[in-house]
């Protein structure tokens, strides 16, 4: 058996290709490959947008447990004490010493800022919740539209196929009629002959349809399967080797074309 190779000169295609690939790799260094870019573009924000995971009671739950995630800040907060009864005394003492404290720094802007931040936190939660609700709604709408588009696409494909079939049918009918007319020289026309070609076409198509049906009924097409039927044991096999290949589930719908 010949090796089917040629080594005519010192050129080595594999080395050239390896060199080309290395050069491309160097150029690409630090950059995203096309596949990575495509992947990123197709990435979905599932964590936010998945409607199944979305909790519509989110804001109510947050509001109910405000103290767990947020803080309450009033002008009195910085003087408050958690020591029960003694706490009142401590608070009064701090209040008395407040003028002294103000000699060192002014706590009022801090109190005001912290108080406002606490309100803002509540506001942000509400806003985020509303945005999430809206995005989830849009996502659901988008999914519905996508599904609808797919359905319409399938319908268009079907109609296109149908149209092609009708076109082919019309062409073959026209050719058959032309062939018939060219074989049979026309006799002088009678007045009702103007409708005849259509009637003839209809009747011939009916005849051919019924003829095909009869043939199939008697086993038309059996010529194709007959050789296989005799080999009912299974796949065609000449007994000269086993069937050891593995089968991938192929995609696509080709296979009809001539090569």
């Amino acid at each position: 058996m010949s090796t089917f190779s040629a080594k005519g000169s010192d050129i080595d295609v594999e080395a050239i290709m390896a060199n080309i690939r290395k050069k491309i790799e160097e150029k690409r260094k630090g950059l995203y490959t096309e596949e990575e870019v495509r992947e990123i573009a197709e990435m979905q924000l599932d964590a936010i947008l998945d409607s199944n995971q979305f909790n519509s009671d989110f804001v109510a739950a947050f509001r109910a447990r405000d103290e767990q995630w947020n803080y309450t800040f009033t002008p009195e907060t910085i003087y408050a004490s958690s020591r029960g009864g003694g706490g009142g005394l401590i608070r009064s003492l701090r209040g008395l010493l407040n003028p002294l404290l103000k000699l060192f720094f002014n706590p009022n802007p801090i109190i005001s800022a912290l108080s406002r931040q606490s309100d803002l936190n509540r506001y942000y939660v509400l806003m985020l919740h509303n945005m999430t609700t809206e995005m989830t709604r849009l996502n659901l709408e988008f999914t519905n539209l996508k599904a609808r588009l797919r359905t319409l696409g399938v319908r268009v494909d079907f109609q296109t196929k149908r149209e092609k079939t009708f076109e082919q049918l019309a062409t073959s009918n026209r050719e058959a009629r032309e062939a018939r007319e060219s074989r049979e020289p026309r006799e002088p026309r009678e007045p009702r002959e103007t409708r005849e070609p259509r009637q003839a076409r209809e009747s011939s198509s009916r005849e051919s349809a019924s003829g095909e049906g009869r043939r199939r009924g008697r086993g038309g097409g059996g010529g194709g399967r007959r050789p296989y039927r005799r080999r009912r044991g299974g796949k065609p096999n000449g007994g000269r080797g086993g069937d050891s290949g593995s089968r991938d589930s192929g995609g696509g719908s080709g296979g009809g074309g001539s090569k």
Partner: protein, 437 residues
């Protein structure tokens, strides 16, 4: 592969025992354009001076509908006897589409695959019954294209005398269950490439069946006028060439996209010349020149004048035009996703290949700028063609294989089961006579 008129170059050889050979192919004729059909015609015409050759085929010209267009019966094409059989039922595109979807995309049974094969066609039971009735009149039957009705059932009918030329591609048809057993049936298989053989070995496990990688030759003219194409089509600059059907299935869309981008990025003056039938819209952009079908002389002139041949197809069992480019010393830039083309480039050291745009750009720019590389690759191509695809080599491989089969048959003649009630009765009568005697 681009169809063209072929002239048998072979002379009758005294060292070859003349055999009665039947070639069975889905369509046949000079006006039939199709890779496998053209391949079959070339082989039949080149073996005809040495053997008694007859071609059996359908009356169809169109492989989509299989409509009967030729007259049934005997005919002659370029000195080769052709026997045509009617297609009983043309293909129903709707049904075929539905079956294809089921068979290739969904769960299905062997019965579905057989129904698909019937619809795949050409559905000609007359051809099959002729094979069964008259197999004694022929020494060997050479079937082309495994995927069609005639090959599947024909190989089963005359398996001990069958030689199969599968012309298989790496598509989903090869994975159908019905074909796995089929590759184990014939006496010998003629592969187009080493990759095709590996693929079939892997799919069907038919290593035990005699096989040879042969391919097909090309009729390279003895003299080519390099000025003919440029002067007739006013091509003055440097160009790369694509020869074949301009079809998205042949990778032409990818080629246009890559070429456009390459031209924009590198400002190359290289033009892209397209030769062949048009099956898609060709972008009207600077640099892309579509010249349609060319005569043989023009085509060879165009090939000789090109810097290189570009072959963007992902599915090829053998690219004849690639061999033709190599025969005139032109390098090839092929699609590396097609294992046959990439394998041929590697083995021949006569072409580069690409799997994405970046590789296309690098490979083409290197080929464009490096004349020595182009020349070296072209020289390697010439050697590769000379060693493997000259007609003398191809014919020799066929003859050697047939001689081996003949020798085996002398020791143990092939037995093909007769069919029909009369045949069974005759056999029974013979056995009965022996018992009585």
């Amino acid at each position: 592969m681009t169809p063209r008129a072929a002239r048998p170059s072979s002379q009758p050889r005294r060292d070859v025992e003349p055999l009665r050979l039947a070639f069975i192919v889905q369509r046949y004729g000079e006006d039939v354009n199709g890779g496998a059909e053209y391949h079959c015609r070339l082989i039949a015409e080149h073996l005809a001076p040495q053997h008694q050759v007859e071609v059996m085929t359908s009356c169809a010209k169109d492989y989509i509908t299989w409509r009967n267009e030729h007259r049934p019966g005997l005919d002659e094409v370029n000195g080769v006897r052709v026997r045509r059989f009617k297609v009983r039922r043309p293909r129903d595109p709707d049904r075929f589409g539905r079956l294809s979807q089921k068979v290739f995309l969904g769960r299905h049974s062997e019965k579905d695959e057989l129904a698909w094969l019937d619809e795949q066609g050409p559905f000609s039971p007359k051809l099959l019954s002729f094979l069964k009735r008259r197999h004694d009149d022929y020494d060997y039957f050479i079937f082309f294209s495994y995927r069609y009705y005639h090959s599947f059932f024909g190989v089963q009918a005359v398996a001990p005398k069958a030689v199969l030329v599968p012309t298989a591609e790496r598509d989903e048809v090869i994975n159908l269950d019905i074909f796995k057993g089929m590759f184990n049936l014939p006496r010998a298989i003629v592969y187009n490439s080493v990759e095709e053989r590996s693929m079939i070995w892997k799919t069907s496990g038919n290593r035990a069946v005699r096989g040879e990688v042969v391919g097909v030759g090309s009729d390279v003219p003895s003299s080519i006028d390099p000025e003919l194409f440029p002067s007739r089509y006013r091509v003055s600059g440097r160009y790369i060439i694509y020869v074949g059907r301009v079809d998205p299935n042949k990778g032409c869309r990818t080629l246009f996209n890559y070429y456009r981008r390459y031209r924009e990025e590198t400002k190359t003056p290289l033009e892209l010349v397209l030769v062949g039938g048009k099956m898609m819209e060709i972008p009207e952009e600077p640099g892309i020149r579509y010249v349609g079908f060319l005569s043989e002389a023009e085509k060879w002139s165009a090939l000789v004048g090109a810097e290189l041949l570009v072959m963007p197809s992902e599915l090829e069992s053998l690219s004849m035009v690639t061999n033709e480019a190599w025969s005139v010393g032109k390098p090839v830039l092929a699609n590396g996703k097609c294992d046959v083309l990439a394998g041929q480039c590697r083995r021949s050291n006569a072409g580069l290949y690409f799997e994405d745009y970046y590789e296309f750009r690098e490979a083409l720019s290197r080929l464009e700028s490096d004349a020595a590389l182009r020349e070296g690759l072209g020289e390697n191509g010439k050697i590769y063609y000379r060693d493997h695809y000259r007609w003398e080599v191809v014919e020799g491989k066929y003859n050697r294989m047939l001689s081996l089969l003949r020798e085996e048959d002398r020791l143990k003649p092939p037995v093909i089961a007769r069919v029909g009630l009369l045949a069974r009765l005759t056999r029974f009568a013979g056995q009965a006579r022996q018992v009585v005697a």
